[in-house]
């Protein structure tokens, strides 16, 4: 980091609004891990309980990568950009081998990566990049970015798009149901009159935080202004083709999922800045 960057960081830290006191309320994020050595961990709970995984982190000036190996074979990776335009820590890709999905591995990689980068950045702002512009004529057969979207919601990130405004009934042209596939939940293709023209979205159960499965009655419901309002206000809708940002109201949620104790939560809270 050059002298000017450090100076800029220091000034930004000095003038940034002071964070609120965080009341630490730990929440689980992915299965708990037991550290065996520097890079090896054992999964303590869930469908992969007892399995050993190797977690390696590669950090450069602009990027960071979390690599997950099992029995010498890479089974997943998470990619981060550092000091990007939208935020200082940007998660932009997370991949898990197909047969190991929905078992908490993406959460492990996201958590490890965010925690590690939080230690490197004294002033950290967070974003998750999922933006993909889709033409209204493009045929979409399955929902995208389900895992990363659920992680974003869980960690307190909110959509970059102003959904309240975009999902006004006058702005909607068409809502099409995307059927569930073997590994993906059902969702909607929402064609809008204004930018970004198409939203690919799915709904999550408030209670479990998981997507509603195929055949659930919620997908037979009519979409009225009240329904759209409920989707947004209760954070039921996840946009699979739009960025997510960590704003003021989500910082506490992030702390509660990343920190392991009150002291750590306090340190993190001082470092995190809303986008």
């Amino acid at each position: 980091m050059s002298f000017f960057e450090r100076l800029f960081d220091a000034l930004r830290g000095f003038f940034a609004p002071k964070p609120k006191t965080v009341i630490f309320d730990p929440k689980p994020f992915g299965p708990p891990l037991q550290r065996i050595d520097e890079e090896t961990v054992r999964i303590e709970e869930g469908p992969l309980k007892g399995q050993l995984m190797k977690l390696t982190i590669q950090v450069t000036e602009d990027e960071a990568h979390v690599l997950l190996h099992q029995d010498g074979k890479q089974i997943g990776h998470a990619d981060y950009q550092r000091n990007a335009m939208e935020a200082s820590i940007v998660l932009w890709n997370i991949v898990v081998q197909e047969n190991l999905r929905h078992k908490g591995l993406a959460s492990i990689m996201a958590r490890v990566g965010f925690r590690h980068l939080l230690e490197l950045h004294k002033n950290a702002s967070f974003a998750i990049r999922m933006l993909r512009l889709i033409k209204p004529s493009e045929r979409i057969t399955k929902i995208q970015n389900v895992g990363i979207g659920i992680i974003a919601r869980k960690l307190g990130f909110s959509p970059e798009y102003d959904l309240q405004n975009l999902l006004r009934q006058r702005n909607i042209q068409l809502i099409e149901l995307i059927p569930a596939s073997e590994v993906m939940p059902p969702g909607y293709r929402i064609v809008l009159k204004t930018f970004p023209l198409v939203l690919i979205a799915f709904l999550v159960d408030q209670a479990t935080g998981r997507p509603y499965p195929g055949g659930h009655k919620i997908y037979n419901s009519l979409v009225t202004p009240e329904t759209a309002e409920q989707w947004v206000s209760e954070r039921m809708i996840i946009i699979g083709n739009g960025n997510y940002l960590l704003r003021e109201d989500g910082i506490e949620e992030l702390m509660n999922h990343l920190a392991t104790n009150q002291t750590e939560a306090g340190i993190y809270a001082r470092r995190v800045r809303p986008v």
Partner: protein, 172 residues
């Protein structure tokens, strides 16, 4: 499917909706029974004396009988359910739950009585609602059609609606 099926579908999706709205506008429909009776008459006029075509009101059709079923050669070709969603208590109201129930019922009826696209189902909903709403449909071919008869589109609605409310109270 018979060559008459397409004109029937076009009638259901177009003129029937317009004619039903005209009937409501002319203060002839105040409840579900009025609606079904009017629709029955309009459909009877349309089908006329076509051989092998029959129209039945509330035939025994399993768990819940649809309001009207049009048969060709004793096979159901159009299964129709009518929803009357106007009430004097609310000026702008969409019978969301009734429409959702009817969609489920129509899908089940089609699956049981007219599988593989042999028939179509229609849900006509008469309501007065000032917002836009959507029925999410899949990209595959649809066999359940929603026919919204929105009284909010009646010209001079602000004059018409108080009269309708008044008549509804007087005519029970």
């Amino acid at each position: 499917m018979s060559t008459f099926s397409e004109p029937l579908h076009n009638f259901m999706a177009g003129p029937l909706v317009v004619k039903l709205r005209k009937e409501v506008e002319a203060f002839r429909i105040f409840n579900h029974a009025d609606l079904v009776t009017n629709a029955y008459l309009l459909l009877m006029k349309f089908i006329g004396n076509m051989p092998d075509w029959h129209i039945r009101c509330s035939p025994r059709f399993g768990v819940k009988n649809p309001d009207i079923v049009i048969f060709q050669n004793y096979e159901p070709r159009a299964i129709c359910q009518f929803i009357f969603g106007m009430t004097t208590e609310k000026q702008s109201y969409l019978p969301t739950a009734d429409i959702e129930d009817a969609i489920g019922m129509m899908k089940a009826a089609l699956e049981e009585r007219a599988p593989k696209g042999a028939g179509r189902a229609y849900i006509a909903s008469v309501h007065d609602y000032d917002q836009r709403w959507f029925v999410p449909q899949t990209q595959e071919k649809q066999y359940v059609y929603i026919l919204p008869v929105n009284c909010f589109d009646i010209p001079l609605h602000h004059n018409w609606r108080p009269k309708w409310d008044e008549l509804k109270k007087r005519l029970f």
